[in-house]
């Protein structure tokens, strides 16, 4: 739980003191992280909701700038924008409290001009249809500028996702990220996508493999395709991996996401292990990934099977609040999330015919599964509370 305070909050960080700042960016080295985290534990144990009331100083000033600022900072650094913008972002990250209070009015004019100009250029491209999508329907521009910005508040403020071991995703070439699946609604996949997008030093984009249900639902399928998701089938996965993309898969599928609350953090069967043979054929490493926190967002205490059958869904969740409170019950609980990427498991050492060897497939599947399960237990032991 030591690392739990290392939260990518721009305004919190600015108040929390120096120790927190270096950690805020991607965790470059484990050693430094540990040290920082230890320092942070003492310095920043002041509770999260505190700052709003405790610190009157930067409060009013941060008011107008706050909603947009963290997003912009993360973006400009992540997408490696032009020097000017990157510089501005960095300055804001490093010189936090002073600049936030003092310089905001000065830079705001130029910043807003640029921002409006950028927004208009974006608008212009969108309404004239002058943008590219790839063969899977992935609209990189829309994803970067709109979809990610819509998810980021949830990622940063609501679930306060903490990412560890992002360096385990290679900077170039394909990789298959295999994660556990939970939470009744596949928010964990989306958060995983934001985590990779915002934290990876080489700006990798995670391409998720989604269930066919996603592509049957209107609106959902459109957004999923634009965000770069595609159907979880061997053909698509292999095609993406051969193009050198980072592909995310959750082999538990509906068994994992729709399991009752009492079985939380118990990994289900990993499908038929198809992901291993796909990775083997493409010769890409498998990166196990453990997500803690998603299990508790919708504690599923019951399953209305008849209703599910009627609607054509694999399950229909009944939680303490849903469907009793109506739409209010559909608000996820604000749990604290941790996403840990584990040591990659190389697959390029195997001969090509190994993908046809069922025993090897089972062993590798088990290895990946065990690694994720162990990391889950480790993270759970470290976790202080579900919500903080």
């Amino acid at each position: 739980m030591a690392d739990a305070k290392v939260i990518p909050f721009d305004d919190d960080r600015s108040r929390g003191g120096g120790a927190q700042r270096p950690v805020r960016r991607r965790p470059a080295s484990g050693g430094r992280r540990k040290a920082d985290a230890a320092a942070v534990r003492d310095a920043a144990l002041s509770p999260l909701p505190g700052p709003q009331t405790g610190e009157a100083g930067p409060g009013p000033d941060a008011g107008p700038a706050a909603p947009a600022e963290p997003v912009r900072g993360a973006r400009s650094a992540a997408s490696g924008a032009s020097g000017d913008a990157g510089g501005a972002g960095d300055a804001q990250q490093d010189g936090a409290p002073v600049t936030a209070a003092g310089e905001t009015p000065v830079t705001a004019d130029g910043g807003w001009d640029r921002r409006i100009a950028g927004g208009l250029a974006f608008l212009r491209r969108r309404i004239t249809g002058d943008y590219e999508v790839d063969e899977f329907g992935y609209d990189a521009e829309l994803t970067d500028h709109v979809l990610m910005s819509m998810l980021r508040p949830m990622y940063q403020k609501y679930f306060r996702v903490e990412v560890k071991g992002i360096e385990n995703i290679p900077s170039e070439g394909g990789a298959l990220v295999v994660a556990n699946h939970s939470g009744t609604v596949p928010l964990d996949g989306l958060m995983l996508q934001v985590a990779v997008h915002d934290n990876h030093p080489a700006d990798r984009h995670l391409r998720l493999l989604a269930a066919d249900l996603v592509f049957m639902l209107p609106v959902v399928n459109e957004l999923a395709r634009k965000a770069g998701h595609t159907l979880a089938c061997a053909e698509d996965a292999e095609r993406l991996l051969q193009r050198g993309e980072v592909v995310g898969v959750m082999p538990e599928g509906f068994k994992g996401i729709g399991k009752p609350f009492s079985e939380r953090y118990k990994l289900q069967r990993f499908g038929r292990g198809g992901f291993v043979s796909t990775a083997l054929r493409a010769g890409v490493p498998i990166v196990p990934c453990s997500i803690v926190g998603a299990e508790e967002i919708y504690p599923m205490i019951g399953n209305a099977k008849t209703l599910a059958r009627l609607l054509g869904f694999p399950y229909f969740p009944v939680t303490p609040t849903f469907p009793w409170l109506g739409p209010l019950g559909a608000v996820p609980l604000p749990t604290k999330w941790t996403i840990q990427f584990g040591e990659p498991i190389p697959t390029d050492g195997y001969p090509p015919e190994a993908a046809e060897d069922p025993m090897l497939m089972f062993n590798l599947t088990d290895q990946v599964r065990e690694q994720i399960q162990h990391t889950l237990y480790k993270l759970l032991v470290q976790r202080r509370s579900v919500f903080f």
């Binding site: 208009l120 709109v146 209107p218 459109e222």
Partner: protein
């Protein structure tokens, strides 16, 4: 001795263009155009034989002219002139059967080229994102032109088995567009307001008419060194456009309708004979379809001159502006930028426009 090429379906634009083009090829001695109706356009001096390929008379034509290459283009989705869907299906399926029967009897036929369509793959949410030539379709097309194409391909496979000495080339074309395209999709894109399916933004691929002619020429001649021109190939331009991009580039607004309503509007439009809005067309406009063209490049050795986007641009130019021409919209944005006395940074890395700005952009820009 040069080739004697028989082309079916020359009364259509595509057939006419192909005939005129291969007349000029030095390897080709004679070109015989066949169709049930006289062509409205000239055939560049090629011989025209009015014959209905649904009748056995086609065998006589083959024998009389000692044809060695047959290009079967008369597999189409739209009726030519009068005649409904039944006549089209008859020509597609029975016509192909008769033609193949005639080819099987003919000792001179050495090469057969069939125009098929990527609609044989169907469109379903459970399909992989990209079809290769060997992908089995998850849901076979249940009717319409797609089913015809599946049946035609089935007969062609049977023929290839029975006559292994004949080189058979099946070309599965993506949606053919161009200045004089007359496909259902071209009609759809000519509607002033395009009805779309709410909540779906299909991925589409196009192939330009000029590329169709070029690839047919590659298929009907001897294969070049290092290439093979018998087998089944997907033919499509590079890249993908979504339907929303198409509508914006055309400047034609869309009218998103719920799926049942689309079916209803489709049948209404079909009744008044405005456009062929068949169920499989609606499925295409719901789930979209993208095919892999690796075989086309590597085995057939064909590189399309037009990408999907260029094909569409060429088509859009030929159709005239829509209700919301993209140039006007772009100008409007420029004027707003000028009013705010800031230059729109074209090509510059775009800063985030602030969540509020980008979100409104998205909702106003999205048709769905």
């Amino acid at each position: 001795m040069g080739k004697v090429v028989l082309v079916t379906g020359v009364a259509r634009q595509l057939g006419g263009r192909l005939v005129r083009r291969i007349q000029r090829d030095p390897e080709v001695d004679r070109v015989i155009g066949v169709d049930a109706e006289g062509p409205g356009h000239h055939l560049g001096g090629a011989e025209f034989v009015r014959a209905d390929i649904r009748r056995p008379a086609i065998a006589r034509v083959l024998a009389e002219h000692a044809v060695d290459t047959v290009v079967h283009l008369d597999v189409t989705g739209t009726p030519l002139g009068a005649g409904g869907r039944t006549a089209v299906k008859e020509t597609n399926v029975i016509g192909t059967m008769q033609l193949l029967g005639a080819c099987q009897k003919s000792p001179t036929v050495k090469r057969l080229v069939i125009k098929s369509s990527t609609s044989v793959y169907g469109s379903a949410p459970r399909d992989p994102a990209v079809f290769t030539e060997t992908t089995p379709p998850k849901s076979l097309p249940s009717g319409g032109f797609a089913k015809d194409a599946v049946e035609v391909e089935g007969y062609v496979r049977g023929f290839a088995r029975r006559r292994p000495d004949v080189a058979v080339c099946v070309l599965r074309f993506a949606n053919i567009l161009g200045p004089c395209a007359d496909s259902p999709l071209a009609d759809f894109f000519s509607l002033p307001v395009m009805p779309t399916v709410f909540g779906y933004d299909p991925r589409l691929q196009f192939v330009h008419e000029d590329d169709v002619i070029d690839v047919l020429r590659i298929a009907l001649h001897e294969p070049r060194r290092g290439t093979l021109n018998s087998g089944t190939f997907n033919i499509a331009g590079d890249g993908v456009l979504t339907l929303s991009q198409c509508s914006r580039r055309l400047g034609r607004p869309t009218l998103p309708l719920l799926l049942p309503a689309v079916t209803w509007v489709g049948s209404a439009l079909r009744t008044v004979g405005f456009t062929d809005f068949s169920p499989e067309q609606i499925r295409l406009l719901t789930h979209g379809r993208v095919v892999s063209t690796v075989q086309m490049r590597e085995t057939l050795g064909f590189r399309p001159k037009y990408t999907t986007a260029e094909t569409f641009a060429d088509f859009a130019r030929s159709r005239g502006p829509g209700l919301l021409p993209p140039e006007t919209l772009a100008e409007a944005v420029d004027r707003v930028a000028a009013a705010l006395s800031i230059g729109v940074l074209d090509g510059a890395p775009v800063e985030d426009g602030g969540p509020a700005v980008t979100q409104t952009t998205h909702s106003s820009g999205q048709p769905g």
